[in-house]
């Protein structure tokens, strides 16, 4: 057995037991130590497997009709079928693409307007006072409640759907950009002015950059909310999109497609969040590393 082989086995074991470093072994206090719960991804594999098996067993036992409880196999078949043949005129890939396009459009517009407004609110008493009640008021309104109004006001094009997603993004981005401005250490501002920076340079090179971690956190939250609002948006007279697919399938009592759609949305939402995290690490490596 070669040296590298040993190491491999060992690191696999480490993964399994949750990467117990030498340290964990010498600690006497583990209950309450946050470091003690690191790792343990292997249990996750177990848990997913268990859920899958239980699901399949219940389906096989036929306790409930497949209409209520489609088997994992049936759901997977639907996935393959819709991925290859499509659903109501669009392939699964196209449905996903259309939904992603809407989410990205609403999200992009929300960022485009939200960041300047948030920065303005963080920097200027007048803008803050003016915008504050409007945002505070519309923020807690459920997006779904707008749907009837959005149809009346925006019609049935992609405009209405994007508006809904825009509204969902906007307030979150505004609030995070504003918090980002508020979080700037006054010493940084003072230092920049003392180094000869103009107001515009302070805004561009200190305030905006300093607010980036907060803005990015807001963007991650907003992206999640957007994805959660997608189904509501696609209630608005859509003919495509994964959200619409789920709603439409439910009209035809295609529980397997509904379940497939739900799982798909979960997986895609999870992947989006992962990408955003990676992006964050790449774009904002200094996050959480400032000293006050």
């Amino acid at each position: 057995m070669s040296q590298s082989n040993v190491r491999k086995t060992r690191s696999w074991l480490l993964f399994w037991r949750g990467n117990d470093s030498g340290l964990a072994k010498c600690k006497t206090v583990t209950f309450g130590d946050p470091a003690a719960v690191e790792g343990g991804a292997a249990y996750g594999v177990l848990s997913v497997l268990t859920v899958g098996i239980v699901w399949q067993l219940v389906a096989m036992a036929q306790i409930v009709p497949p209409l209520f409880w489609p088997s994992p196999g049936a759901v997977f078949d639907k996935f393959v079928q819709i991925a290859t043949e499509g659903y109501k005129g669009f392939t699964l890939f196209e449905h996903l693409g259309i939904s992603l396009y809407r989410v990205l459009a609403g999200f992009g517009l929300g960022c485009l307007f939200g960041i300047p407004v948030g920065l303005g609110m963080g920097l200027n008493k007048f803008i803050k006072g003016w915008m504050d009640p409007l945002i505070e008021f519309y923020r807690p309104v459920p997006p779904l409640a707008y749907v009837p109004l959005v149809i009346i006001w925006m019609g049935i094009g992609d405009g209405g759907k994007v508006l809904l997603l825009f509204l969902a993004t906007f307030s979150i981005i505004v609030i995070s950009a504003r918090a980002g401005v508020a979080s700037v250490a006054i010493q940084k501002i003072h230092a920049a002015y003392s180094l000869g920076a103009s107001r515009w340079q302070v805004l561009r090179h200190v305030i905006l950059v300093n607010a980036m971690p907060e803005i990015f956190t807001g963007m991650r939250v907003a992206m999640g909310v957007c994805w959660g609002t997608l189904v509501a948006a696609e209630m608005v007279a859509a003919t495509s999109g994964v959200g619409w697919m789920v709603l439409n399938a439910s009209r035809y009592l295609n529980t397997d497609i509904v379940l497939m759609g739900v799982i798909l949305m979960g997986v895609v939402g999870f992947l989006i969040d992962m990408c955003m995290r990676k992006l964050e690490q790449k774009l904002i490596p200094w996050k959480g590393k400032g000293r006050g």
């Binding site: 009346i152 049935i156 035809y252």
Partner: protein, 303 residues
Amino acid sequence: ADLTVAYFPGWPTTHQLGQDKGWFEQELGMEVDFREFDTGAAMAAAMLSGDVQIAYSMGVIPFTIAVTQGAPLDLVGIAVTYSENDNCVVRDGSGVDTPADLAGKVVGVPFGTVSHYKMLKTFEKLDVDLSSVRVVDMAPPDVAAAMTRGDVDMGCGWEPALSRMLENGRLLVSAQEQESWGLKVFDIIAVNREYAAEHPDRISAFLSVVDKSTDYVAANPEESLSTISRQAGISEDQTRSIMAKFGFPKRDEQLSDAWMGRDVETFIKGVADVMQANGELPKALDDYAAFIKPEFYANSAAR
């Protein structure tokens, strides 16, 4: 509640008189709860969960879809017939004068409903190529709103939204003409099969109260109108005009060949085939007779 009945909001039917007068409770000797539902699909889903035992005025299409998908539901009667209260409206100024003009236009219709089916059959009859129009899935009130804005050129749906659509549009094809093609439109009374098997007498009792209500409405039209309009949540004028176009077949008529005796089964089979052809349903059943149970209505007179 001991018994929960699903119904459509804004849909003025005679049973609402019995509902208002408490006849159902009296006749069945138990608490009867009436629940609003948006769509027949939602009614079917709720019946699957077991929380709803009877659906009054479920659309034929959702029923067909549900039983084709394996839902244990049965059809026990016809709730209301309404060819004129469910139709397609062409918007004024949309430039659609003949069916051929529909090519490239936008049509709003609630998918998986009678309106949808009617539209498909009408297109078939008028030789409109389905792939040449853009069909959008929308609830009737949304269709009405979108038509006001000019976003859709033709909209299909039922009352009360249909009246709204007609405010700035006209019918594509009259109901009489559609009926002459054999295109009936009706809502049914569906029951949860298991429940009906356990309590056949309750179903029959329920149906007898429906007929009693229909009789009362015929005898006291003005009083009934105001009661029903209140129950349905629409104005008396609307109630009057909608109900004028409704038909409420009673027991003997329902049991005849025109309905449960023969035609309903043929109709449902036809619906299922069309939907299969359009890819709305994976596979139509060979035979829908098993889902039609006239015996409950038949027994309702014995009470």
